[in-house]
């Protein structure tokens, strides 16, 4: 092998390595990674900071600082800042949705369900920024959110109906349904986690695959579709959480209403 050929080969290797490194830095996630947990930014012994944790904290900081800045100077006047107007529209919309779904006053559920919705929505929408990976495309994040819903259902149910009233709904049609009710509770938590994870992961994965096949226009179209899916999935996660909580808190009131109706008919 001649000297010049060797130099050319070395330059070629160097260039390809550079391209590969650059591509990794641009995309953050390799095509082989299906979770941002596998992208590790910083490691010290057993402690490691991966992309999921980083972006989760980024989203949380953005939400907390943003809403602190906006609500610092609230005005009850007719003249209000545009950001206050935006927040009022968002909060009022969430309250209206909760009232419609649960047929109850929304104040008790606003904080939990609204926070879930806004967190998932913002972390999904921010994926339009290059170099950002939605923390919801990791199964750990979505499993954590689903576990929050799983824990919130009995808390709200017991607060609203008492321990006996809440536990009685597990043997509702007959005591034979007890195992099925428990399995249903667990499987809907699993479904909640895997649904959000699968939708977000499939969005990023399809864009990555299309970038390798047809890099010109199609990835943009699929990315837009992914944004739409992200918004819808945030809405659906919040709606399902609200439906689960409402089903644990509502039954007693319906029964009371029925009894009152019967009494009214009797008298």
């Amino acid at each position: 092998m001649g000297f010049i050929e060797f130099i050319e080969l070395a330059i070629g290797f160097e260039l390809s390595a550079l391209v590969r490194r650059r591509k990794n830095r641009m995309d953050l996630m390799d095509m082989k990674d299906i979770s941002p947990d596998q992208v590790i930014f910083w490691q010290w012994g057993p402690v490691s900071i991966n992309a999921t944790i980083t972006f989760t904290w980024l989203v949380m900081a953005l939400m907390v600082i943003g809403s602190w800045l906006i609500t610092r100077r609230l005005s009850a006047d007719v003249r209000l800042s545009r950001w206050q107007n935006l927040l009022e529209v968002v909060v009022d919309g969430i309250r209206k949705e909760i009232r419609e779904i649960s047929q109850q006053e929304p104040d008790a559920y606003l904080y939990f369900v609204g926070t879930l919705f806004l967190f998932i929505l913002i972390s999904n929408i921010l994926s339009i920024i290059p170099g950002y990976v939605a923390p919801t495309s990791s199964l750990s994040t979505t499993a954590g959110l689903a576990v929050c819903v799983f824990a919130a259902v009995p808390v709200y149910g017991i607060l609203r109906r008492g321990l006996r009233g809440y536990l009685r709904q597990y043997i509702k049609p007959t005591p034979f349904m007890l195992p099925f009710n428990i399995i249903g509770e667990l499987s809907r938590t699993l479904a909640l986690a895997v649904r959000l994870f699968g939708n977000m992961m499939s969005g990023t994965k399809i864009v990555a695959i299309l970038l390798a096949i047809t890099p010109l226009i199609f990835p943009i179209v699929m990315h837009a579709l992914g944004l739409l899916t992200g918004v819808i999935q945030a809405y659906i996660f919040a709606v399902l959480a609200m439906v689960y909580i409402a089903s644990a808190t509502r039954i007693q009131e319906q029964k009371k209403d029925n009894q009152e109706e019967e009494k009214g008919e009797d008298s």
């Binding site: 699968g198 939708n199 992961m201 499939s202 819808i232």
Partner: protein
């Protein structure tokens, strides 16, 4: 045939079959529900908002079945535990 190529072949074929067969049912279900929602929106345009919202929630629930199939096929392709086991055994 050694076990590496056997496992690789089985994973790839199964991943394709998983997403292929798994997409049939949700596709039929989504088509039915969209058709029904469109016809009911044509009959009652006043209720279009409520129907659309329920439709989106229902579509996402139906679609999650296809998403489960997709997740399984992605695991088979990119995070296959059997493949990793065999490769690590062969390598080390």
């Amino acid at each position: 045939m050694d076990s590496i190529s056997l496992i690789g072949m089985a994973s790839v074929i199964t991943a394709g079959l998983t997403i292929g067969i798994g997409a049939i049912g949700p596709a039929l279900g989504e088509g039915r529900s969209v058709a029904q929602a469109l016809s009911s929106m044509a009959q009652q345009p006043d209720e279009a908002n409520r129907i659309t919202r329920t439709l989106f929630v229902g579509l996402a629930m139906i679609e999650s079945t296809a998403i489960y199939a997709f997740v399984v096929s992605m695991i088979l392709l990119f995070a296959n535990p059997f493949w990793d086991h065999v490769v690590s055994k062969a390598g080390g």
